[in-house]
């Protein structure tokens, strides 16, 4: 579903390597966790997948479509939830959802059903008539999540999705992720909450200083690390 081929990105005229020659191959029906300390290159990688940052070298494929060559086709298959929900403050929640639905060409009956389902689940239905500027950080996050799910994306990409969510919504988001994978869709998310990754992910990659230093299922990661049983210990050991 998602394939990264040798992608690299440097900043400051090549002096800082944010992402260094990363290869990934994520299959349909997988929940893939992308772990790493602050500044490891997680967000940079995600931005290259969703079309916000052009890789210096390498290619990104979504469902075998080159993201940087046929971007419209690729973008229609994904949805992206950034770590910081910066959205149009002057629109009402419902207007934002309609706008996003229009861009993905979601028919009326479908968008009505999805909006109803997710806004109720995230407990923001009552606030949809209000200007987004009056929302709290968490409510904005939930609105972005709702908008990202309306067109039922094949690949759901989230950058630090648990930050700012209340425990109930975080739980529901995890349920949504699990359910999507059961339906054969793919979830790719970055996090530094190790517990979430450990419990939820089918596979995990740990990135540090722009390079992937470990990748595999929890079992595989455990077997490589002698006597370090929890993901926390593995993580700490690898990123030291």
């Amino acid at each position: 579903m998602l394939k990264l081929k040798n992608i690299s990105k440097t900043y400051s005229k090549g002096t800082i390597k944010a992402v260094d020659n990363i290869d990934l191959d994520i299959k349909s029906g997988e929940i893939f966790g992308f772990l790493g300390p602050n500044g490891a290159g997680k967000t940079t990688t995600i931005k290259m997948i969703v079309g916000l940052l052009k890789p210096d070298t390498g290619q990104v494929f979504i469902d075998n479509i080159d993201v940087w060559k046929n971007s419209l086709e690729a973008k229609a298959k994904i949805s992206y939830v950034p770590d910081n929900p910066e959205i149009y403050d002057k629109l009402k929640g419902i207007e934002y959802l309609n706008f996003i639905s229009d861009m993905y060409g979601v028919p009326k009956n479908v968008r009505e059903e999805k909006m109803n389902y997710y806004s109720e689940m995230f407990n923001i239905k009552e606030a949809l008539g209000d200007i987004i500027g009056s929302y709290s950080h968490g409510m904005k996050q939930k609105l972005v999540l709702t908008s990202a799910l309306i067109h039922d994306p094949q690949l759901f990409i989230l950058d630090e999705p648990m930050v700012g969510l209340d425990p109930k919504s975080a739980f529901q988001l995890k349920e949504i992720m699990r359910k999507r994978c059961d339906e054969g869709k793919t979830v790719f998310f970055s996090t530094h909450v190790l517990e979430v990754a450990e419990k939820l992910c089918d596979r995990i990659a740990i990135i540090n200083k722009g390079k992937i230093i470990a990748m595999g299922t929890m079992e595989e990661l455990r077997s490589h690390a002698e006597e370090r049983e929890s993901l926390e210990n593995i993580f700490l050991g690898l990123t030291e």
Binding site: L52, E86, Y88, K90, E112
Partner: protein, 557 residues
């Protein structure tokens, strides 16, 4: 006092971006951009000198009737009026909508300190408006009349204090306005309607006073006798429109006597007095108008309005959805509302009213000209509508206005064509409002026929498309996305200035072409037809260019 100085310093740095200019000059790419902008400014210099040589002729004309001081009054009036007008907009955005307020209000400082420090930075911004206007007047008067050293000393003092009083007036008016329009609910709407009405009333009275003064002047039996006897007669009569301007010019024209000195004292004294009064009033008015402003973002709690999803989910074509989103944002963001939409509505009204209020006498020549060549008013209307497309700054800030939300546009599967159609459409919808206002206000002056209405609407809107596209081209090449305050996207955005420059070239070219065609007796319908072709051709070429640029920039930014 230390607090005030520190506030002024910080505000200065924020407003004029001193630190960031130094920073960006170190960056090679930006350096070239800045040099290019410098050249663009230099290219305006010949026009400026043409204007100045025109001023010299006006001076000579006044001198022939012994009323040189009138020349100074023109300068003072023009610059103070402009400072006042810009002042209204500056004060509104700087006192009430700037970003630092959220940080300043909780600090233990008096409201008058905040207002005072902002006033000082505004004074400096206003010098940029006032100096290019007043200096030629003062220098021409001084050199041609070989005035003495005291004249130049007075001039220096007067030019330095010149923006103060108009800015004080603007500050007081805006503070009162914001205080009493701070009503819960439809505050933004009340304010924009109030602001438009306020400006219309203001201009109405201004023009009325001028026309009354002019009429009174000409009526006296002894007019020519008085004119010879009192070399300041015109100033004293016409200066009533704004007395401080009169004092300024009288101070300079009488610099050699004690009278001049007294007028100088009056000019400066009133400015200082006004400033003190303004600071005093700010203690009472400022927070009352402001606090509700910041409140907006939090006032509406959860569930104030329930949404019926069945009714509120509507499908729309992506380009129309983008246009609607743009329009909503323009209407709901006060800074955009004042600058873009306010301008589009107010400019036609003021232009038309300035002729209307002066009464029958000044209407007569216009009617005579129009009777011979009725199409002139149509051409004027078309030109004005196209110019509004530039003045509204909607095209040249369309991507900048996205700011930190730009990621949404870039990650969604939106066709470039839809981006262009939607954004051009948004600009045209605003233009349409200007068009309606123009046609209605024009109908007060003269009977505009159906064919005029048709051509003004068609060619005005059609000609606005390339104008908007030119703006969009500039904006996609160098969008200003990193801002926290919408004011930056519109008022501190160089793209607006560059857009105006290129817009003037575009419109100037069209105007020259039309003048050429009219002079060569080409039929007016043929001219209209030709314009239709030109506008369509321009729109198409710019569309192709924009498509390429947007595709490229959406990947690179």
């Amino acid at each position: 006092m230390e607090k005030v100085i520190s506030l002024i310093k910080t505000d200065f740095n924020i407003t004029f971006g001193l630190s960031s200019i130094v920073y960006s000059f170190k960056n090679k790419k930006n350096r070239w951009q800045m040099i290019l902008i410098g050249f663009a400014f230099l290219s305006l210099i010949p026009t400026y000198f043409m204007l100045i040589s025109g001023l010299v002729k006006i001076y000579d004309a006044y001198r022939q009737i012994g009323q040189q001081s009138m020349f100074l009054l023109n300068g003072f009036l023009a610059s103070q009026m402009l400072v006042f007008l810009f002042g209204l907009l500056y004060v509104m955005s700087k006192y009430y909508f700037s970003n630092d307020l959220n940080q300043l209000v909780p600090l233990p400082i008096k409201p008058s300190y905040i207002v005072g420090s902002k006033f000082v930075t505004l004074m400096f911004s206003e010098y940029l408006t006032s100096l290019p206007i007043i200096l030629p007047f003062i220098i021409i008067y001084g050199i041609k009349g070989s005035e003495g050293i005291v004249y130049w000393i007075y001039s220096l003092l007067l030019t330095l204090t010149l923006p103060a009083l108009p800015l004080v007036l603007a500050s007081i008016l805006v503070m009162i306005f914001m205080r009493y329009t701070n009503v819960k609910g439809k505050k933004d709407l009340i304010r924009i309607v109030g602001a438009v009405l306020f400006l219309i009333i203001l201009f109405f009275f201004q023009f009325k006073i001028q026309s009354i003064a002019q009429k009174a002047l000409m009526k006296g039996d002894n007019f020519f006798f008085d004119l010879v006897r009192d070399s300041n007669l015109l100033v004293k009569k016409l200066g009533l429109a704004f007395p401080p301007s009169m004092w300024g010019s009288l101070a300079l024209s009488n610099y050699s006597s004690i009278k001049g000195f007294l007028y100088l004292l009056l000019f400066i004294g009133i400015a200082v007095g006004g400033l003190i009064l303004m600071l005093f009033l700010s203690e009472k008015l400022f927070y009352d108008g402001l606090i509700g402003n910041i409140e907006v973002s939090a006032a509406k709690g959860k569930g104030s309005r329930k949404v019926d999803l069945n009714k509120s989910t509507k499908e729309a074509n992506p380009s129309i959805a983008i246009a609607l989103k743009e329009i909503k944002m323009l209407f709901r963001t006060p800074i955009y509302l004042i600058n873009s939409i306010g301008g589009v509505i107010i400019v036609p009204i003021i232009l038309v009213m300035s002729t209307f209020v002066n009464g029958e006498e000044s209407m007569e020549p216009i009617r005579l000209i129009l009777e011979g060549k009725p199409y002139l008013i149509t051409l004027f209307g078309i030109g004005l509508i196209i110019a509004l497309g530039m003045l509204s700054s909607i095209g040249c800030t369309t991507f900048s206005r996205e700011g930190k939300n730009f990621w949404i546009q870039r990650t969604l599967p939106i066709k470039v064509e839809d981006q262009i159609y939607g954004r051009v459409m948004a600009s045209l919808i605003i233009q349409l409002m200007g068009l309606v206002v123009l046609l209605v206000s024009m109908s007060f002056i003269t009977n505009i026929g159906l064919s005029s209405i048709f051509w003004i609407s068609l060619l005005g809107l059609l000609g606005s498309i390339p104008m908007t596209q030119l703006g969009m081209t500039i904006d996609i090449l160098r969008p200003l996305l990193d801002w926290d305050n919408p004011q930056v996207a519109m008022k501190q955005n160089l793209n607006v200035l560059i857009g105006m420059g290129i817009g003037i070239l575009y419109e100037g070219g069209i105007v020259l072409l039309v003048i050429f065609l009219v002079k060569n007796n080409i039929g007016i319908n043929l001219i209209y037809g030709l314009l239709v072709l030109i506008f369509i051709l321009f729109s198409y070429c710019l569309f192709i260019l924009l498509k390429k640029l947007i595709n490229k920039q959406f990947q690179l930014l």
